[in-house]
Symmetry: C2
Subunit: 353 residues, 2 copies
Amino acid sequence: MNTELIFSAGPGPAFDTFCQGRNYASVHTLTDSNTATLALPVLAASSTILAEARNWTMPAGEENKNLATLSNLWTELESAGATRRSLLVNIGGGVVTDLGGFAAATFKRGMDYVNIPTTVLGAVDASFGGKTGIDFGGLKNQIGTFAAPAATIISDTFFATLPPEQILSGYAEMLKHALLSSSEATHKALDFDPVADLASGNMLPLLRSSCNVKAGIVAADPHEKGLRKSLNLGHTAGHAFESLAMRRGKPIPHGYAVAYGMVVALILSHMKLGVGTGLLYPLAAYVRSHYGSPGIKCSDYPELLGFMHSDKKNTAKKTVNFTLLKNAGEPVIDCATSDNDIRTALDILTDLI
Amino acid sequence: MNTELIFSAGPGPAFDTFCQGRNYASVHTLTDSNTATLALPVLAASSTILAEARNWTMPAGEENKNLATLSNLWTELESAGATRRSLLVNIGGGVVTDLGGFAAATFKRGMDYVNIPTTVLGAVDASFGGKTGIDFGGLKNQIGTFAAPAATIISDTFFATLPPEQILSGYAEMLKHALLSSSEATHKALDFDPVADLASGNMLPLLRSSCNVKAGIVAADPHEKGLRKSLNLGHTAGHAFESLAMRRGKPIPHGYAVAYGMVVALILSHMKLGVGTGLLYPLAAYVRSHYGSPGIKCSDYPELLGFMHSDKKNTAKKTVNFTLLKNAGEPVIDCATSDNDIRTALDILTDLI
């Protein structure tokens, strides 16, 4: 996983600098229908290489992260004359970088690719670490491969084009990385409002800290054998909240669900690992004021438990495996948790937020 | 590329032994319409694991090494309950192992796979080394990835089911490996008739030597940056013979074309690198008696040269890059060769065979 992480307020010039001396046979860009108009022109105005690159635009949205789009992109790369010495530049959120990364990893058995994430979630999560892929047969990321981008260029340049809800959703992953890092990083992250403070100049340093947390974990465990599971913090309950909301016909953004899930994880950490409430209460207050309440009732618990039990990370059938925290920066993976403990945690959650 | 190469006259029991202690969540087999009836029953009769594995059969033939078959195999793996801890066993020639390997490498971002090649070419070439893929957009192996099988189980058990022409075609690659290995290996290979002597018991040791030559080269250069190009010996002219025959509507087996191409390579080695004729004459005699003549005329030269110039391994436009030999076992890659030299070599070829 030799990805060069480049943090820059000027992603266009940073890309040109990255390309120096690399002699790519040709450069191709992939955008979606949003970033084709909101990001590519900005990049092309400040990068001579991107200005001259041939662009292909996929339709935006998770529902297009599929085999048909992938096949069309392969065809485009061929007709554009791409070779294994060419470069594909993926400009967009996780859908674009996941699909583009997989296309590059498999075109002629692999060409280099660079990600320029345009969303908060993309910047701190999807755009590096080597997971690429598409949805297939109704399942997310069912088909894919581990293939690291040659570089990921991270900036906050494009965040102002995003809806506030999407910024907050991505910021939940930054809160997660802070929790996995240290108490100091957590309090720094909780002191920042990613919407109100976006123009403050403090976002880029926070992005850098956040990415470095994930990069450190991925480097230690690229294929998710152990430590990388700590990145699931908040996701076990989070996925259940997300799935329940979907089933109710009132979907919530992924990061909102993860935010609620992290509060559940800290409650369980308190209950099961004896962790104090010094992290839990400030986090819960932040989540309540920025993400609101998950709005669940006792009558939802059976469904939520059902979703948690179907999580692919479980190894035994009677318990649910959570990633918990002994302290900020000290994750404990695979904590087997009983349904009773989960119900208690959900009770506390609804009291807190 | 941590592939365990297993040479065995009993591939079924060898597979069961390989599986011991590996605890695969489930085992799935991929066959084509030939190996489903000619190979799988033989294996299932001697392997309890393969007897119980769920099998899926793809239609035989290179024309089915495509995205539609791949997509159907992914769907089958999902509906059969395969996980990333399952194992896919590819039973067949290069089409089956290339497509099955790619499916395994990309299903849930990668599950283990084992190849049990049933053809000579599969055994010594396609079934290990990590190249996987499908044809796409009319181009061979256009889409794929480098992913090594956990094991390749090599035997001559199934060769008696093959047409003699196909055995000889695969044997051309064994001659190539012998040439890349040593003078002794070359003369041993030239003393063997893979059709007449198939039941002699000498095939398996020859397979072992041949595979070890390729395995050594692949280990030294898994991504074809340099040394691995030596495996192209005979293929530059060979592909041209193959393409010309295809265009004429009289296709010849790949290995026959490679056999003619190796004679061309040894002629050029003599002309350009001053190599003696101690390898060339015995090889030409063997090719003439086993593979016949390519039947080309001077009027074919322009087309043959055209095919050679379009080879993807060329770096400059005015010359064609050949892999040549300084001696048996001493390949020289990227030998830039003029059209005049190639014409002279083709003249000598038509005199020799």
